[in-house]
């Protein structure tokens, strides 16, 4: 398979995934996009192996590194500003607070992942203690994952029961102003 053919198929797959995702969100089905994502990822890996030409070389990796670094900076600035704006208006609409928190935590997570990968690429992968570093990363990821699940699990929230907003846990914000059906 030629590189051009591979890129064309990749584009078609991305378009199909986007359509499936948008439809899944509308119909609130989260299993189909997950299955689609796994199948398409495996398909793309298989297709890439069929390409006999060089798919990416050192110039691509260099450009990818610079682009990623710039993208992280831009994303961080946008989310930090958005977070402060949303957080300062949380009294107007309590739903702004969780959005601001999500933005803040996603930025922190991005920075942490970037820092670990940079440190690994820069120094650690050349040392004998690289397995120890990877073990620490896995442990920290599990701790962070559990913490995040606890934070966003909806334990401390308002639940709609018999037409009334009822406290579930200890939510830090007032009951939603929308009508509970």
């Amino acid at each position: 398979m030629t590189l051009k053919k591979y890129q064309q198929i990749k584009l078609v797959i991305i378009v199909i995934i986007s359509i499936i995702f948008s439809q899944a969100i509308i119909y609130q089905n989260y299993l189909i996009p997950l299955i689609t994502l796994i199948i398409s990822s495996l398909g793309l890996i298989w297709l890439r192996r069929q390409v006999k030409e060089v798919v990416a070389d050192e110039r691509d990796y260099s450009n990818a590194g610079k682009s990623a670094s710039l993208a992280i900076q831009i994303y961080s600035w946008i989310t930090v500003v958005a977070m402060f704006v949303l957080y300062s208006f949380k009294d107007l609409n309590p739903s702004y607070e969780p959005i601001a928190m999500t933005l803040a935590y996603s930025t922190c997570l991005l920075m942490v992942i970037y820092s670990f990968i940079y440190k690994f690429q820069n120094k650690i992968k050349f040392t004998p203690s690289k397995n120890k570093f990877l073990f620490i990363i896995v442990v920290l990821s599990i701790i962070f994952g559990v913490f995040t699940l606890r934070l966003f699990s909806g334990e401390d929230n308002w639940v709609c029961q018999n037409g009334q907003w009822v406290k579930h846990g200890a939510p830090s914000f007032d009951a939603p102003k929308s009508i509970c059906k």
């Binding site: 590189l3 030409e53 060089v54 070389d57 050192e58 110039r59 691509d60």
Partner: protein
């Protein structure tokens, strides 16, 4: 930076595609190299010089 890649490539009757395949990069990288718009890694410079049967010194000229 200036390069003599085009000149040496012509001597060996190699196309950009062929040279790219021989040094395991994409054709666009050879285009950028020939135009002096990309600083290659030492390994790539070495591979290109080897393929074109010359030295890195002859191939790449850096402006002072």
């Amino acid at each position: 930076m200036q390069t003599k890649i085009k000149e040496y490539r012509a001597k060996l009757n190699l196309t950009q595609d062929q040279l790219a395949n021989l040094v395991n990069v994409r054709r666009e990288t050879i285009v950028f190299l020939e135009q002096g718009k990309y600083n290659p890694s030492l390994k790539l410079a070495h591979d290109v010089a080897n393929t074109l049967k010359t030295s890195i010194d002859n191939l790449f000229i850096f402006d002072k």
